[in-house]
């Protein structure tokens, strides 16, 4: 269920412990991210989804445990190596407010590649999409349903056409059931990972609680009606 060690894991977390004050958010958590998959991270508010994403990105140092990216500890990667491996989309976009859109895209390039400006521009598109793992923090929050649907479609297309591994933290049940290959539900400091179909049959209390809300049931019904895993966004 948690992937095992077939060598197909592009990133993995082992024994992650995160504590804030006397509240334990992650309690010896293990998670494997399979190369090329779209993994959804779900869970109630305050269950530590964003902290998990920040830990994956190397922005948050866990109290215990390690994060491996391509078999190497994320903490040991050089900043430039890490930037080429992991791309992050933050919840609020985190565009540099003092720069233009073009400068925002150019910034990482200008800093890491000693190229002429026109070469930089040519590389921009490629490099901006180059990271092998894309971490998305609530990409559809605050969007109208149409735009949220476009984002879902874009995630699917990125994964299909570029082979990017995507980890998406979301509350959006349509994203979870419509786009994700596997879903990791965070509850009680641990994750339960599985395909949507597996999770619907899961006995874990936290998972059942998360999937028992009226909206979850509606989303699961729609997903089953659409034929489950066979028929999904971008494949029709």
């Amino acid at each position: 269920m948690s992937g095992g060690n077939e060598g197909g894991n592009i990133m993995s977390m082992r024994g992650i412990v995160n504590r804030f004050g006397n509240q334990t958010v992650h309690d010896k958590l293990d998670l494997d991210i399979v190369s090329g998959e779209i993994l959804g991270i779900a869970g109630g508010s305050g269950s530590g989804k964003s902290v998990l994403l920040r830990t994956l990105a190397g922005l948050h140092q866990p109290q215990a445990g390690k994060v491996l990216a391509g078999g190497r500890p994320v903490a040991s990667l050089l900043p430039a190596e890490r930037a080429a491996f992991i791309g992050v989309l933050f919840q609020q976009g985190a565009l540099f407010s003092s720069l233009s859109v073009a400068d925002n895209i150019m910034l990482p390039m200008r800093e890491h590649t000693p190229l002429a400006p026109d070469q930089q521009a040519a590389l921009a598109r490629a490099l901006a999409l180059d990271p092998r793992v894309l971490l998305l923090d609530e990409p559809t929050s605050g969007l109208d349903p149409t735009s949220a649907g476009d984002i879902d479609l874009l995630i699917r297309q990125l994964s299909d056409s570029l082979g990017v591994t995507v980890v998406v933290v979301t509350h959006d049940l349509n994203t979870l059931f419509g786009v994700c290959d596997r879903v990791a539900v965070l509850a009680g400091g641990k994750v339960t990972v599985g395909t949507p179909a597996m999770l619907m049959r899961d006995k874990n209390e936290g998972v059942r609680e998360f999937l028992s809300g009226t909206r979850a049931i509606a989303a699961m019904t729609a997903w089953s009606d659409a034929g489950g895993n066979e028929k999904r966004l971008g494949h029709n």
Binding site: G58, P79, A80, A83, I86, A94, S97, E111
Partner: protein, 374 residues
């Protein structure tokens, strides 16, 4: 029988409570305006125990009224005659947890005082450690930039020189003139009884060059630029822009802190020199009007009164104050957590702390200069 006025209800403005043998009848509106009176009227006119509450005449019911009915129902009363809408509301409320929240336990005042002192002490210690840590990291970054000067950002440094230096010139100049006026008036008033008012020129020149110019400039820059540093970086922190920089493999220390630190280390000495000049000009003007000493007489007197060591004793402090102000401002900016409220709080803290640091450092400099005899 009692009637209670309800100003809010349109249909019937009065609630009537009739109590009889084992029954209570309510007619009219039962809402926020009448609910307290209804409770009291029942308590005075009806006997204790379980009653049959007849509610067919109820014209309006809001949540407060329904809460009262729920409490009565909990006490064993039977509610009869409620219309469908009202019954739905009562049923909804009856299903909720209506127990009062547990009151927070407060420690006694004297204990809270000691707890407060303890927390403040721990926070100060943490602040001190943070400050030392941050200064160290800033110094390491500066060292790296010295080794790799191509990584310096001239554009960013130039922008901050403009913001912290050029734009501060008018206010710094004005304040320097004002300060020398203040010192001159005090000097004349104190020295005249001894016939030493001519020494006012010495007093103004020495105090402006050694202390006042650099102190006033540093305090002003701490308020202006220390706050700007904290707020600019704080807003970026709150918007996760700092995290975005890190995942792009860029170092916020090198990108944001170093240019500000370098710019302020350049501008504060220059501003101080400008304040020195303006202070002396202020001294000249005030000497003319108070002492009838012309410019031609004033200049040789100043030259006799002060030496270059007085000028350098003032100027040497400026870069040190600049480091304290820039480091404090940037550190508090990076300490912002999440909200806009936090940006405001950290900005305030940055300004208070950098002014405090400037004055403490100035006191240490005074002691040091005394010891080495400058």
């Amino acid at each position: 029988m009692s009637s209670i006025a309800s100003p809010q209800s349109l249909s019937s403005t009065r609630l009537t409570v009739t109590a009889g043998e084992g029954r209570v009848r309510l007619t009219g509106p039962l809402d926020t305006a009448t609910v307290a009176e209804a409770g009291r009227a029942r308590a005075t006119s009806a006997s204790a125990g379980k009653h049959r509450v007849e509610l067919a005449g109820l014209t309006a019911l809001d949540t407060a009224g329904a809460m009262l009915l729920c409490t009565w129902q909990d006490g064993g009363d039977t509610l009869v005659g409620l219309n469908a809408d009202h019954r739905r509301l009562v049923k909804l409320l009856a299903g909720l947890d209506r127990s009062a929240p547990v009151a927070a336990v407060h420690s006694p005042g004297w204990r809270r005082f000691f707890i407060g002192v303890g927390h403040a002490g721990a926070a100060s210690l943490r602040d001190l450690v943070d400050f030392i840590d941050f200064t160290g990291r800033a110094a390491a970054t500066m060292g790296q930039l010295l080794l790799h000067p191509r990584r310096l950002r001239p554009a960013a440094i130039a922008r901050h020189v403009t913001e912290t230096g050029v734009k501060a010139l008018p206010i710094v100049g004005l304040l320097a003139v004002m300060i020398s006026v203040v010192i001159a008036y005090q000097g004349v008033a104190q020295l005249r009884p001894y016939g030493g008012q001519a020494l006012t020129i010495n007093l103004v020149a020495v105090s402006v060059l050694r202390e006042m110019a650099v102190l006033i400039t540093a305090i002003l820059v701490a308020g202006r630029s220390g706050a700007a540093f904290a707020a600019e970086i704080g807003v970026m922190k709150a918007g996760e822009e700092i995290d975005a920089l890190k995942v792009m493999g860029l170092d916020p220390m090198e990108l944001l802190v170093a240019p500000r630190l370098i710019a302020l280390m350049l501008t504060l000495p220059l501003l101080t020199f400008f304040a020195d000049i303006m202070g002396l000009i202020g001294g000249a003007v005030i000497s003319q009007s108070l002492l009838d000493v012309s410019i031609a007489q004033y200049l040789p007197r100043v030259r006799a009164a002060v030496g270059s060591s007085d000028l350098f004793a003032g100027l040497i402090k400026a870069p040190v104050f600049a480091v304290a102000i820039a480091v404090t401002g940037c550190m508090h900016g990076l300490r912002v957590k999440g909200s806009a409220e936090s940006v405001g709080a950290e900005t305030t803290r940055a300004v208070v702390k950098s002014i405090f640091l400037v004055i403490v450092l100035d006191a240490l400099f005074s002691i040091f200069f005394e010891r080495v005899g400058i």
